[in-house]
């Protein structure tokens, strides 16, 4: 990791567009950043990464964009809203999520092929779905999902309500879901690691603060907050 940034003397508002899955950790980061840099104010816009990419491409006044997937970051680099190379600041791996008490008696990834179990996966179009696909390909398992959800939270809702017996989601999400969901690690998870890229925007209204926030996320303090939430270091 990089060393903790020195006091930069930045001030003013910094607007951060961040993937919704970063809500909890980035809020904490934002508070710490404000304390470390008096005179700054971090404003977050949490939404789906793709919606954020759309907004940035339509000229939204953002300073920093933290995406949950390289694909959404690519949408903004394609339009030259960001020309610098984005940095990967966190990684996430998949876990098997089962409802409290594991009613489906799930032991491993192989159970995902059982037709009589209710299985939820993310849709291929979203990052966790793409990762799931890679995992199943590596394990040579044909999964029999009952639903292909639009995001991890939707999958988790179904797990926590016991509507499905098993699902593949990110480790961070299992952690956030609390007691109602149990997570199980599996070996094939290493085949699909999801990178979270971050970048400052070229037209950032507050370029200095943007740089400072970006540095703070990549600093050790930032890493600690992210790892508390279950993210792996890049």
């Amino acid at each position: 990791g990089s060393p903790a940034p020195a006091q930069t003397g930045v001030s003013g508002n910094v607007t951060v567009f961040a993937a919704a899955s970063l809500t909890e950790s980035f809020r904490k980061l934002g508070e710490e950043f404000e304390t470390a840099n008096p005179g700054t104010k971090v404003t977050f816009n949490f939404a789906g990464s793709s919606a954020l990419a759309q907004q940035i491409n339509q000229g939204a006044p953002a300073d920093v964009f933290a995406s949950a997937a390289p694909a959404n970051m690519k949408q903004v680099t394609d339009t030259k809203a960001v020309t610098a190379t984005p940095t990967t600041f966190a990684r996430n791996t998949l876990q098997i999520a089962v409802p409290e008490g594991n009613p489906g008696k799930i032991t491993g990834l192989a159970d995902f092929a059982k037709a009589d179990l209710k299985i939820a996966l993310c849709a291929e179009q979203v990052p966790c779905g793409a990762a799931s696909k890679k995992v199943f390909e590596a394990a040579k398992i044909t999964a029999a999902p009952d639903t292909l959800e639009q995001d991890v939270k939707a999958v988790l809702t179904k797990v926590s309500l016991g509507e499905v017996d098993a699902a593949l989601v990110y480790r961070t999400d299992v952690k956030a879901a609390g007691d109602k969901v149990e997570g199980k690690d599996f070996t094939e998870a290493s085949n699909a690691v999801n990178d979270y890229p971050i970048a400052a925007l070229d037209k950032a209204p507050n370029a200095a603060a943007a740089k400072a926030f970006l540095d703070y996320v990549l600093s050790d303090k930032g890493k600690r907050v992210l790892s508390e939430a279950g993210f792996a270091a890049p």
């Binding site: 759309q54 949408q75 849709a123 979203v126 999902p145 009952d146 292909l148 179904k158 016991g162 509507e163």
Partner: protein, 261 residues
């Protein structure tokens, strides 16, 4: 024979029209038209479109069957606490659809209050099925129908119902043959709202019924997923949905309207 339309009405009307239509025009202008044909004739899009139309129509039927009597009860009976009931009926409108889906899961899901019995006793499981899509859409769309029809009922002259009663018609016959035809414009307006809302339904559907191609993937779900990877394709899909709905609405409404009047 009537005078010119008054500016004070026509200007806001045109502004309103522009407000609704210019964004649509924006979509049409920016859409990558080149990809439209390939999208339009892809099997998946066809499937999603068919499923959307079928589910929205079935949901509308469910809403009509349950919602019109409900509207009548709210408008004509002298139940105590009608005001609160009426407000409660409006509530699913306010509920974020995703929460609506959660509420449906709490009741009709595998471990839901009612759903667990459905599962145990009849082996019926609604989530992740096409029936689930219909239910989710109906839940979200029904208030539109109920409120439109109730408004129309309260504007209708109740003396026609008295006339029917003196002719020996029961309340049910009166409802069917006198009340309902006389509030047809309101019912049609409500049906259109209801169908359109059901057709565009996303949050409750994906939460309650999930997303499985051919079974529960309706157009809005397909659009949402396309937005994740290929926003242009999403716009094209939306335009397809729009064009189909405009065609259906323009076609059906004229037929319905010329019918009763």
């Amino acid at each position: 024979m009537r005078s010119r339309l008054p500016v004070v009405l026509v200007l806001p009307a045109i502004a309103g029209l522009a407000f609704l239509l210019v964004p649509l025009a924006g979509l049409l202008i920016k859409a990558p038209w080149a990809t439209l044909p390939s999208q339009l004739f892809s099997a998946e899009v066809g499937q999603a479109l068919r499923l959307s139309l079928i589910c929205a129509s079935l949901a509308t039927v469910v809403c009509l069957v349950l919602g019109v009597p409900l509207a009548w009860l709210l408008a004509r009976s002298d139940l105590p606490g009608r005001g609160v009931l009426r407000a409660l009926v409006t509530v699913p409108l306010v509920l974020p659809p995703v929460v609506g889906g959660v509420a449906l899961l709490l009741v009709l899901g595998r471990r839901g209050i009612v759903g667990q019995h459905l599962d145990q006793w009849f082996g019926i499981s609604l989530p992740f099925t096409t029936a689930g899509v219909v239910l989710a859409e109906a839940f979200v769309a029904m208030p539109f129908l109920v409120i439109s029809v109730e408004g129309a009922l309260r504007a209708a002259d109740p003396r026609y119902e008295e006339a029917a009663a003196t002719l020996g018609a029961s309340r049910w016959l009166t409802f069917r043959r006198v009340t309902l035809p006389s509030v047809m414009p309101g019912v049609i307006a409500g049906t259109v709202l209801c169908w359109a809302r059901a057709l565009g339904e996303f949050g409750a559907t994906i939460t309650f019924a999930g997303n499985f191609p051919g079974r529960t993937t309706t157009m809005p779900l397909a659009v949402y997923l396309a937005l994740e990877t290929d926003p242009d394709a999403a716009i094209v899909l939306s335009i397809v949905l729009l064009l189909v709905s405009v065609a259906v609405l323009a076609g059906l409404r004229d037929k319905w309207i010329s019918g009763p009047s």
